[in-house]
């Protein structure tokens, strides 16, 4: 991937596919490191699936037996000297607290660091793709926090106006741009 923001888009979709009603995407930056954390309340993975999940030949997709999303993220983190971790609670064992947390830490100053790229476009694309589910996006930077919670937007919009309406998507993009100080 050319940008970590594309990994964000890709990995967050796993949560939606797992039936999550809320997916939290956090970017936590220090001067030296950048951590991506995805936490969801989806169906979770069984221990057996979890063991194989970083294997490219482990995938939920049906069109072919290769899944590169997780292996790519892991590789990109590890090539900066960083780390990758994934934990999950499957609904069969944890009926009330199931879900998955995926975390990748990068060393920003490493020569093989993938640039973060256009995070705003990824957040807007995620919401456009699955306007029925909720996303909480938090970016903690040394210079301050950027935050967007679709549950708050939904409260204002009511039931009749969906999040994927062009005017609403434009508002979301504008709101994030202002928070980033663009």
């Amino acid at each position: 991937m050319k940008e970590l923001s594309l990994n964000i888009l890709d990995i967050a979709k796993n949560s939606v596919k797992a039936g999550a009603t809320l997916t939290t995407i956090e970017i936590i930056e220090t001067d030296e490191t950048l951590t991506l954390r995805f936490s969801d309340n989806g169906c979770g993975m069984t221990e057996e699936f979890l063991k194989n999940v970083t294997d490219p030949f482990c995938t939920t997709r049906t069109t072919r037996a290769v899944g590169l999303g997780i292996p790519l993220l892991k590789l990109e983190a590890e090539q900066t000297g960083g780390s990758f971790n994934i934990t999950s609670r499957h609904e069969s064992e944890y009926p009330d607290s199931h879900g998955t947390v995926t975390e990748a830490t990068f060393y920003k100053n490493h020569i093989d660091m993938t640039p973060l790229g256009d995070v705003i476009s990824s957040v807007v694309t995620l919401i456009q793709g699955d306007p029925e589910t909720d996303f909480l996006f938090i970016h903690n930077r040394p210079s301050g926090q950027v935050r967007l919670d679709t549950r708050e937007l939904r409260e204002v919009l009511g039931d009749e106006v969906p999040l994927d309406l062009p005017d609403v998507l434009a508002w979301i993009r504008g709101n994030l741009e202002e928070q980033y100080g663009n």
Partner: protein, 122 residues
């Protein structure tokens, strides 16, 4: 600031219109957004369709949605156009600029852009 008040104004403006919109949409534009599509550049293609359809006032008849892997990863970004009563059109190796052309000629004009279809890219 893009305030919540502004969002509430959008709600007031749109709430009656949205009801009208439902059940319509004769044309469906589907963009492949699995790992393969995203890595090949599908995000700007999708944005171009979403933005273009809104800008051209086509929202009543065109819906833009995302899907997973279509199964022809080497041709990504892949875009499929479904229209009632017509054969599916599959565009391959798309870019944002090609998307604009497809909106103009196909979605607005009614004739598919043959040179971007899978048939002419094999």
């Amino acid at each position: 600031m893009k305030s919540l008040a502004e969002l509430a104004a959008i709600r007031e403006k749109m709430k009656d219109r949205v009801v009208l919109r439902e059940g319509q949409g004769d044309i469906r534009v589907v963009v492949g957004m699995a790992t393969c599509g995203i890595a090949a550049g599908a995000r700007p293609v999708l944005s171009a369709f979403v933005q273009g359809v809104a800008d051209e006032g086509l929202s009543d008849k065109v819906t833009v949605t995302q899907t997973g892997c279509i199964g022809i990863c080497q041709y990504e970004p892949v875009v499929e156009v479904f229209e009632a009563g017509k054969e599916k059109v599959t565009y391959v190796k798309m870019t944002a600029d090609k998307a604009k052309e497809v909106i103009e000629k196909h979605l607005k004009g009614g004739s598919p852009v043959a040179e971007y279809t899978i048939g002419q890219n094999q």
